[in-house]
Symmetry: C2
Subunit: 264 residues, 2 copies
């Protein structure tokens, strides 16, 4: 199967402009089976206040943005994971949504909110879902979740083969170094779809990345250009959890010793 | 304070030769406050069978090797963490021992045994000790423990500022990429003292490394030469667990969600 990440600059609180900027990249990625878009792709990141954020957000079940993506999926027989500014009544979530030809399949709400996101968004309350798809099992993370190895471990131990990671990364050279390590230690594929561009004081760092269960970087974008990166993979490779011929990534864990850092 | 790692080739089952090879590097590192030596430094790695391993091992409380190190510590007012082939009655452990001027202070027994080590050694049964020293709190890991993020997290959450990591790494480009990530995500200093040389089919990969709580590589050795690497640090920097001004490495954890991968 083919994985893709689209690296571009969504427009701030302007869905029409965002769809216009996104479309040529979707067209370029249409051969992929699973496409990952950046975090908060329907709204942009640096929303000035909570009323503006609420106005830019949509419910998962009534979203012009997700409808647009579902129509693309139907046309090209693919699936998309997108970052999504989600409104549920008066609550806002920084979410990732898996969309197929019929619409939204599963929603993940970001667990680890970054900096001032804490003023806008409610922390994730839907756990760490893993979705069974025809090509493999998909988990989701959003941006700053990268800094918590427990979340990657939990998704992998729940059977995720591929983790889609919509991002709006601003700290240079941190997440992009960690992603191949999370992939290697959990023996999963990871697709980080990061954005580019500047919003106010924030400059986003690009370098979208696709990493393999062996910890290899299969594809990596530059820091500041809009582009599509792709990799052809066998998702079954993520079923092999042997770090060496005699060391299993999960079975060799010493949960009896880790205490609150890792025991059940 | 000054940290050091000594990268050299211990001799296989020849303590006299090992001490001879080690001494010039100890002398070169004598300005350091804490020196880290490779894994199984008193025995070498690729022991042919269990009787040979038993013969090469020593008890912590009656070790010519540790006595030698303690005498050096007394002379130079420093401490050493060494990899140590430990015998306790008929059991063998792949251990790390913290030694000061008075002798052994604390012993850690490797939790995650690599490949054929499973045929020789008993898995660690002393947990993950953290030792209070005048300069800071020290935890220990040994070689393949690098592949289990839970252990680094557990040591950091127990208050370790500095994690000493005696190693005999053979998989190129894996651990040495992960160490700065473990340091960054847990906001600790890590000193990986790796060996060089060849024993039978095994070639050790050098590249000993000292990493900071910011994820910086403070010092790194080449792949195949014996040497000392050092770094001057402020161990108090590891007390600051803020990943950003509003994100705490431990307090932002969502232990309610991680399940068996991270909840207590």
């Amino acid at each position: 199967m083919r994985l893709a990440a689209i690296q571009f600059a969504p427009a701030l609180h302007d869905l029409h402009a965002t769809l216009g900027a996104l479309q040529p990249h979707l067209d370029a990625a249409c051969e992929a089976d699973l496409i990952v878009l950046p975090e908060l792709c329907n709204s942009g990141y640096n929303l000035p206040d909570r009323p503006t954020a609420l106005a830019a957000a949509e419910p998962v079940a009534a979203s012009a943005f997700l409808d647009h993506l579902a129509a693309f999926c139907a046309q090209h027989h693919c699936e998309i994971v997108t970052g999504f500014c989600e409104r549920e009544r008066e609550a806002l979530y920084n979410s990732a949504v898996l969309v197929d030809a019929n619409g939204p399949v599963e929603t993940y709400r970001k667990l680890h909110l970054f900096m001032n996101e804490k003023d806008f968004f409610t922390p994730g309350d839907r756990g760490l879902p893993v979705v069974e798809r025809p090509y493999g099992r998909v988990g989701m993370q959003v941006c700053f979740d990268w800094a918590f190895p427990e979340a990657w471990r939990a998704l992998a131990m729940q059977g995720a083969d591929i983790i889609a990671h919509p991002s709006n990364l601003v700290l240079p050279g941190r997440c992009q170094r960690a992603i191949p390590i999370h992939a290697m230690l959990n023996r999963v594929f990871i697709i980080t779809g990061n954005r580019i561009g500047t919003e106010g004081a924030l400059t986003f760092t690009g370098q979208s990345i696709i990493a393999s269960p062996a910890g290899e970087v299969l594809a990596e974008a530059a820091q500041d250009n809009a582009c599509v990166i792709t990799a052809v993979i066998d998702p079954n490779a993520a079923h092999d959890k042997m770090l060496t011929p005699r060391n299993h990534a999960f079975d060799d864990r010493r949960a009896d010793v880790y205490g609150s850092a890792g025991a059940s």
